[in-house]
Amino acid sequence: MQIPEQPDKTLLMRLQEGEARAFATVYELYKQPMALRLLQLVRNEAYAEELLQDVFMKVWETRALINPDLSFKAYLYRIATNMAFNFMQRASKEREIMERIIQSSTELYEHVEAELLNKENEQLIARILDGLPTQCRSVFTAVKLDGFSHKEAAERFGISTHTVNNHVQKASKYLKTYLTSPGGLPFLLALYLFS
């Protein structure tokens, strides 16, 4: 994952002048790498959110100090490093924070699969499972997204419940491997419904 080196100079000048739209664009540029690394660092979703918000609020509040001729990436990452250090130092002294981090550190990947298996993520799931045979994919989707029982799915697809079981297991394993292996997520088409 690449981190943009330097936003366009006019963009930085607009940010410096307090244009919120420029701020939004800068956030769009850096949000994904920054969110990912903060999450990996503090190993807790809620704390990563707090930190990410604080880092960018700091950028907004100190925007007048931004020099468009100097490295914005260095500026941003210096702010983030300071804030992350301060947070971790605070965590080392506050038992409650420590306990939450210990708890979430090992659970960070758990539940992602369960959360993903939701009707509204149908497109994402479809693209992730693209490499599987059609029937395996359809059966898995029917069971996991549409809520068909194994028996109902068996009737619908004209196969045995044993085969349904195999398909579901195979696709589950595929999804798990996919999620735990390094890489990017597929981009989706913008979804617009006209009815």
């Binding site: 919120a20 990912l36 509040e61 080392s92 617009y192 419904l193 006209f194």
Partner: protein, 409 residues
């Protein structure tokens, strides 16, 4: 709090930090190890080493597990929403002097790409012709297709049908638009009286039209398609000929022997039904003929081999030369066009671009291999070509519009 011997800012502490930090970042630390790592933060002498580790971790560009990437996306989206609120609510907080009060709503730019997408939709033009229209950026765009078709009578006369109308009705003694207004054709040519004449309804690229046949069955004709049908059906069967794509909603007609069959003859398949809804795609420039069943039951005869298959709702019969395959499909994907939508679901690039080319009346030229990507998503067919392509996430292929030619590189 302190672990003996390692928290004193020495080389030993530095090594302990480096080693623990790596394991911690990849989620391999035990609870005790996490506490030990954090304990290092309590010693001032460790600050430089810890900050260096943090800076390295933040600037890391290695690929992370996808589950973490997914989580990070959600974190970034939620924070984006909160930043928007805070910045809109308090655009100029006290602080180092902002030099200007120039202000534009953050909301409009929160997600740039999406905003542009919505802009495109908001800017939908009142397309009434298929001329090229200039966009704001100065580039040339192409309007979407519309209600366009030509009706050819048995005597060779042809009539361009009104674009203000969506369909025609073949009555027993007149041909009218759907709102009842007569096309004003003489009864003989229009198929009135007792003569059985062949009529032809043709849509161009970028055209679609509906027709109600003499038996009340309705047909939606997609772009670049031709339907041949008689002005009156015979007493024992109903037969129409199709090249291109159409959706049929066939009414059941009682007859002496039960129900009167309705046949759609294409180059690859003959589809025989009694009363049902189905979509047929039989373009001459595509190797496969596909019939997708929405309701009821249809029988498919392979024109080459003569093999007969019966399909159930949710199934599709795909004929390629002498072979017919039956598969389960998402029917909505194949009938969305008649409701004015593109619906792609893991659709190969070639199929996707074929639909686009027919609807926008453009030619597709490949300057390299056909991209291997598949496409998933739905969008309105009333978008202009550039709006539509802008919403597609075509990452492997660069598409350029030159006149009415889409160049795929």
């Amino acid at each position: 709090m302190f672990v003996l011997g390692v928290n004193d800012g020495t080389l030993a502490a530095e090594q302990d930090i480096k080693q623990l930090f790596e394991r911690y970042r990849s989620g391999q630390c035990s609870a005790e190890e996490i506490v030990r790592l954090y304990d290092h933060f309590g010693i001032d002498a460790n600050r430089a080493v810890l900050e260096e580790r943090i800076a390295d971790a933040l600037a890391n560009t290695d690929e992370a597990p996808r589950a973490l990437v997914y989580r990070a996306q959600q974190v970034a989206d939620r924070v984006g929403a909160r930043l928007r609120e805070r910045v809109v609510a308090n655009p100029n907080p006290p602080g180092p002097r902002p030099r200007s009060l120039r202000w534009l709503p953050y909301a409009a730019a929160a997600m740039l790409a999406v905003a542009i997408g919505w802009w495109a939709i908001g800017q939908r033009l009142a397309h009434d012709g298929q001329e090229t229209v200039p966009t704001l950026a100065g580039a040339v765009d192409i309007a979407p297709g519309a209600n366009r078709a030509t009706l050819t009578l048995a005597d060779g006369r042809s009539v361009d049908l009104s674009e203000a109308q969506a369909g025609i009705i073949i009555g027993s003694d007149d041909i009218t638009y759907q709102d009842g207004v007569s096309l004003g054709l003489s009864t003989v040519g229009a198929g009135g009286g007792t003569a059985m004449e062949e009529l032809v309804l043709t849509t161009p690229n970028g055209g679609t039209y509906q027709i109600t046949l003499p038996d009340g069955s309705r047909v939606w004709l997609n772009a670049a398609s031709t339907l041949k049908y008689p002005s009156r059906f015979s007493a024992d069967e109903r037969v129409v000929f199709l090249e291109g794509e159409a959706f049929f909603s066939v009414t059941r007609q009682p007859s002496a022997g039960g129900s009167m069959p309705f046949r759609v003859v294409t180059d690859g398949q003959t589809i025989e039904v009694l009363g049902t809804e189905f979509n047929v795609s039989a373009y001459a420039d595509e190797v496969e003929t596909k019939t997708t069943l929405a309701e009821g039951s249809v029988q498919i005869v392979n024109q080459r081999s003569g093999t007969v298959n019966r399909i159930a709702p949710g199934q599709q019969a795909v004929t390629r030369e002498g072979h017919t395959d039956i598969r389960h499909v998402d029917v909505a994907q194949y009938t969305a066009w008649k409701s004015g939508r593109f619906h792609f679901n893991r659709t190969p690039f070639g199929d996707m671009i074929g639909q686009v080319a027919r609807w926008y009346d453009v030619e597709v030229v490949y300057r390299g291999a056909v991209p291997k990507e598949t496409f998933t998503g739905k969008m309105g067919r009333d978008l202009s070509l550039m709006e539509m392509l802008g919403l597609m996430d075509i990452s492997d292929a660069a598409i350029r519009l030159e006149g009415r030619t889409l160049v795929v590189q």
